[in-house]
Point group: C2
Chain length 168, copies 2
DNA sequence: ATCATTGCAAAAGATTTGCAAGGTC
DNA sequence: GACCTTGCAAATCTTTTGCAATGAT
């Protein structure tokens, strides 16, 4: 919360909002009301979301007058990804976002029944990834791993339902 | 090429076309000219493709009269995936397909410069995947791993370009 | 002959863009 | 005041769908 944008603060742990401000400043872009509202809204809860759910969320919680429009939401999400604050990946044909800034790297288990994303971290995976890349003279920028299947809860639910049916 | 659809042939190594015929038969669907042309065309070369490149390909190599339309291409690609002949994943917002039937499982290195996909296989990855899933009581159906970065060729090209520039 | 499949045109869903009006530095 | 942003409407891109005509068994 101290003074911003001085060189010495670069190493400091800035809030997402401050980090975004800094990024925008460096690109000679403006920290508008809309962008401010969006960063804060996006970082208020740690949760995966897509453009539509964010829009719905805004529609439900922000008065029309200050509510960013759909194009602005898309444009700002792009900037947040560019700024390194959000990570973006694709799921079922639409873009999904999650916090990146200040959040440890991880991958996902994706339940195709309830569509939930479960996070996990694996150092072994990173090693494996780097080793494979090295073997191909490939310079790694990142990766995307999604393990698809059915989560414990959905499996249980199915089993319960089946047993129930068997009893009839 | 011997008699098809008899129970004894299920274990036999069928050609993609034969496999598709069998699948269609089992679902009481018809093996039309369009479907025939598409399976054979798709399996003529081992290469990643999307609906549009396939359509372009067809436009360039098949006379209008016998050329499957866009909706038919989409519908048939869906059936080929369903039949287990093709694998589908998303890249840059559109669906990409590759051979699955008779082809060993693998993952990809994706070069963001030239957009090429390089295949690799890792048993360690499968073990890691299964272990992680088990730890979460997750029933695995499959996974998607794409390592993003810059391939050897593009790195070289860049280096050459840079050296060339440095010489000016 | 019956019923699946095709092509066309149009729809749908996600995301992007041109441009005039409005906001920020 | 200069210039970036926004919102609106419309465009784009990819994929899907309704339906009448056509084709496979």
């Amino acid at each position: 919360m101290s003074k911003k944008f001085s060189l010495g603060d670069v190493e400091t742990a800035l809030s997402p909002r401050e980090r975004f401000e800094e990024y925008l400043h460096s690109k000679k872009m403006r920290f508008t009301q809309e962008r401010k509202l969006l960063v804060e809204h996006v970082f208020a809860r740690h949760e995966h979301f897509d453009a539509n759910s964010l829009l719905d969320d805004l529609t439900a919680n922000v008065e029309r007058k200050h509510r960013p429009s759909r194009p602005t939401v898309y444009r700002t999400l792009g900037e947040l990804v560019e700024a390194g604050l959000l990570r973006k990946f694709e799921l079922d044909g639409r873009a999904v976002f999650e916090h990146d800034y200040g959040y440890p790297p991880h991958d996902h288990l994706y339940c195709t029944k309830c569509e939930s994303l479960i996070e996990f971290h694996s150092d072994d995976l990173l090693e494996l990834r780097n080793r494979v890349a090295q073997e191909h003279g490939f310079r790694v920028a990142g990766h995307l791993l999604i393990i698809q299947g059915v989560c414990a809860e959905c499996s249980q639910a199915k089993r319960r339902a089946k047993r129930k049916q068997d009893l009839l």
